[in-house]
Assembly symmetry: D2
Homo-oligomer: 378 residues x 4
Amino acid sequence: MSTNSFGRIFRYTSWGESHGAAIGVTVDGCPPGIDLCACHLQHWLDRRRPGLNRFTTQRRESDRVEILSGCFEGKTTGMPIQLMIRNRDTRSKDYSDIADRFRPGHADITYWQKYGIRDYRGGGRSSARETASRVAVGGIARRVVSALAPETRIRGYMVQMGDSRIAADLADDDEIDRNPFWCPDAAAAEKWATRLDAIRRAGESVGAIIECRAIRPPPGLGAPVYGKLDTDLAAAMMSINAVKGVEIGAGMAAAELTGSENADEIRPGRSGPRYLSNHAGGILGGISTGQDIVVRFAVKPTSSIRVPRRTISLKGEPVEIVTKGRHDPCVGIRAVPVAEAMMACVLADHLLLHRGQVGENQGTIGKATKSATTSDED
Amino acid sequence: MSTNSFGRIFRYTSWGESHGAAIGVTVDGCPPGIDLCACHLQHWLDRRRPGLNRFTTQRRESDRVEILSGCFEGKTTGMPIQLMIRNRDTRSKDYSDIADRFRPGHADITYWQKYGIRDYRGGGRSSARETASRVAVGGIARRVVSALAPETRIRGYMVQMGDSRIAADLADDDEIDRNPFWCPDAAAAEKWATRLDAIRRAGESVGAIIECRAIRPPPGLGAPVYGKLDTDLAAAMMSINAVKGVEIGAGMAAAELTGSENADEIRPGRSGPRYLSNHAGGILGGISTGQDIVVRFAVKPTSSIRVPRRTISLKGEPVEIVTKGRHDPCVGIRAVPVAEAMMACVLADHLLLHRGQVGENQGTIGKATKSATTSDED
Amino acid sequence: MSTNSFGRIFRYTSWGESHGAAIGVTVDGCPPGIDLCACHLQHWLDRRRPGLNRFTTQRRESDRVEILSGCFEGKTTGMPIQLMIRNRDTRSKDYSDIADRFRPGHADITYWQKYGIRDYRGGGRSSARETASRVAVGGIARRVVSALAPETRIRGYMVQMGDSRIAADLADDDEIDRNPFWCPDAAAAEKWATRLDAIRRAGESVGAIIECRAIRPPPGLGAPVYGKLDTDLAAAMMSINAVKGVEIGAGMAAAELTGSENADEIRPGRSGPRYLSNHAGGILGGISTGQDIVVRFAVKPTSSIRVPRRTISLKGEPVEIVTKGRHDPCVGIRAVPVAEAMMACVLADHLLLHRGQVGENQGTIGKATKSATTSDED
Amino acid sequence: MSTNSFGRIFRYTSWGESHGAAIGVTVDGCPPGIDLCACHLQHWLDRRRPGLNRFTTQRRESDRVEILSGCFEGKTTGMPIQLMIRNRDTRSKDYSDIADRFRPGHADITYWQKYGIRDYRGGGRSSARETASRVAVGGIARRVVSALAPETRIRGYMVQMGDSRIAADLADDDEIDRNPFWCPDAAAAEKWATRLDAIRRAGESVGAIIECRAIRPPPGLGAPVYGKLDTDLAAAMMSINAVKGVEIGAGMAAAELTGSENADEIRPGRSGPRYLSNHAGGILGGISTGQDIVVRFAVKPTSSIRVPRRTISLKGEPVEIVTKGRHDPCVGIRAVPVAEAMMACVLADHLLLHRGQVGENQGTIGKATKSATTSDED
């Protein structure tokens, strides 16, 4: 029931504010005996860390994660794992002028109306800083996925910045780590760099679309009809700050397809069904087919901009506001590792849930091994 | 933890298969003392019922809902409410040929792989027939919303069929109930009728986009950061059969906006904040602003088509399949009342959750009454 | 969050009132592929059915259970299972005089104060009739336990009526089914029969203590520290009508033991640890040891008696009340099959939860097979 | 679903091991605007702290609690509250000899069998040290109770040590804080001191019975039938280390009562119903009557004793064990503040849940104000 928790068996509760003493996450339900050290988590946190390049906020956070419980001699014990990240560079003075006025596009006004109190320093609980907790727990989830579905990999990347979308046929996985945008198209990345520099200098911001893929997942994950894999993925991604839309497979464009175009035809593969296309995004009836699971989401432009915007004050008076703090001109960039983390959490949870209710996949097709699926490339 | 349940305080569990004895829903957490008779629910079920016109499946179901518990002398008692709808027109013979082969785009293959058993008659649990349960419980949720937020109305409508999208400026609310598409644009509805007739005759199907709006909701609904109102709406809509994408406010198009375009500016209104635009879709930081809550989702084309598709059999052999049963050429039509129902469930639940944790809105702005918001039209 | 639900993975929601149309239970999370027909459940319901002998309420209910969903061709499908039992012999007139006055010891007054409405017919939702739902779902849970832990048996019996307690050393398992009290001591049963006849004729009632045992359960069930097996068993039993106390193993008497008396010593057994005593009731640190799991609970005397009691009316006036309906002089008798059902539900759920998080027991002792335990009798 | 969480709306997750870096608790669902500083929590922690007198473990822990999130300027914000207590005096060497053998009566063997890994230092997660987290969160829960039910007080005390039970008619509330046993009977406390000295010197331990009372609670808390107030209290108390039995009101002794003895008669009081007795322990049908809520539980004797006990080693060999660490001869003493904390958590949660589903009590009796109840003393 907790509104700051996510997951069913692999379940975590996130806590902390942007400028409080620390942020962190309490993880319950992790299987025992999994190798885990802070270094595993640090690797992923370093990808999300602010200040990595000129396109992300210049806040300097080392984002050192501590494991306070649930591990013993380098392995998980099955007990709750507490992860804590101390906040260090919290220049609270930067935020003093937003204490009595509401930044448009931010949670300032709704938190105030609802709770009658808000930690306005850096957005408090509503800050994107909370996503560091997600990346940390995602690091644990990845290890659970590795243990239970060793072939599965998770990969996020940016496919659109502003109105510039990459061409699917130019995408190159190896390129993703080579540019500051996690963009699989080198030419697009270069264009985006020029453009984002201009946006940053103008004190403006821009939105983006992120795609995240689980490659070679096992079939059979997910459950009808409110625990569908796509339902949980949609919730996972929509819960990330600034996300305004989520798509699975063909997504919103599915509206424009006919039934014969949309139905992914099936052929016998070497070791299981082989699908001729993947409009479904790897999920049928809420359950994974074994094809790549494909989710996409839109991140709105950062609302913290230097362009003056009209708003009201706590006293209800009309005022203007300019946000002077350190911010991301395209917060979508840092959403990439967050998307991967959320994908990992959803998969880890469904792997355990599947094992709990069903054990292992029960149905066989032809003489194929239970649960095998052949990828499209066969 | 139940994967067939939805909600936190106002929580329901859906049960039943397309061609079993009955379908239904067990609703827990409904406040006591609310007027409720089957007639209230029947009204909404009749809008979703199959066979209403030539554009929906010709299956004849009276969809009579019975209230088996939780009501006494016409009022809810606060106890679990059991709603049951008997299945009547279950022509099981129509489905006999899909017992040993998997319909592309359907859950047939994943249910089989996971569970090793599936009720193939009419899709069993994965059938859109489950949405009748949603509409029934949505009828109860509407009464809860009426009791706690009497000004709030909920309205769904279709904004796109195939690639034909209505122009926002031609939308007319009064038109919605006058055509078989719940389309707010009479001219578009006429065009769609012609088009859908052709699609139906060709044994094909087409996708659609539905928009659903909560009009004049109270501010303050929703909670950080995994119980956000938009997160719960995304999960609610994505859990509906055939949905492949969900958007809040500007949705996927938010990627193309700049920060200054996207930030909905605020001015003092007669009785609270007045917003100059609504890219946020009525939600900031996961909490309702008091503006209209706007959610949109894409429904893929029905996978049951008469066009032959390639697939495999239970034995793993390559076969072709044609779906001969009675089906909707555009299942999006019947998704409209379902969307309204899910919106109602999310609001009812968050109204109770808000009352539970917070009581009533705690913050005031200027001299305004707590929790008031002025709509855009001021 | 639903307050009418129980369990985590194997989770059910109970619904219905004593004199409504029906009662029932919605079961989610049951593994697929388990043989299930109504006959399996009927067997257990028949043991709890009212009117079996002169010591239970003379209400005539056939208690026919229908399976409305979640089964296909005699096997569970992994989908929600809906069980419904129609109410038949609902002599509502018997209860008309309790509509405006509150029976002491009953939920009448608290339901009224809280909800402002109550289905007073037969106690409505607070009636022990709800326990039929428990017995029905317990029948499913037993089949899950059989599938996952085939050696485990569940056995309930009455160990005390009024102040008459059976001597542990005279207990004979084979006796349990031979007398109307599920009493393992034939002599005690005879004494109880005489005594209960007198109590019944006096219009009085009497309390009882029930013991329920899981015999040869697997070790490893349960989880720290709020999902302990004993915690869940305590909740399970305390949720049964009229239960006022729950004990595990030595129970309340553990207070009188010294540490050396209480610690169950361990020796190497043929195929695992062998315990020399079982004060712990088969649970250490919330996790089963593999010894018998022993739970005991006290059932208060039925509050529905013919002896006049003082109370107040709806108008707040002092009145007297005599309960004339058909009732059990010792409701503890029918609590025996209910206790077994709840034990089965707790075990089924923990078997699935254990499989989900841990897979199978991970630790070995000596050369013994994982998870084996030798019973005391070795 | 998390097994380390407790509560529904006011929900916390406990984490940490006895000899890890820290222990703590993540609290979600706390209402906003409640005054809270670490000092409020420290007050209660100091009552539970080890080393207070010669009858509790000599481990020296300052038990300083830090509030890491969810508070702003001395008030709760409605966001998750993270409480952390650093472990300081962790003499791990004391425990090195229990790494390869299982202490009878402890969780050592079950944790090992289930998880295949255990933090054996001080019992790790299964240590009673976890109860410090309960006391800390209980401090927050008390403030929620104060805010919503200002008249309600919570009071725990010890009523039995070994076989020595206090006489109810000699109980004096003012005495509770004056002796090291939280015993309301001065003479008994003196006797217990002599006795416990002997037990301690013998390297032995002894059990105890604790009673906890909520005084002047509001009627209407609790919900049928698996969210009963007594069910949640039973789970709350049974989840505490070493607890083997839980009683509400008359408890196990209810078995010996007749119906007419047991039914608490009702008379009109000055401002609501007045009960002539309280066998029910303040709860009817799972819902509070407004009388004192009375719960009692037995704590087994500490299993860590200096008397040699037979057990087996990791290799399965027969060995003897003596526990040399610092331990409580009667762990029941420190269970008193823990019981109060758990009672506070259950009440806080049900106050919020009640407000959520029902708002305020709906039924009136006579002309009395809604929800008032007159205490027995009227």
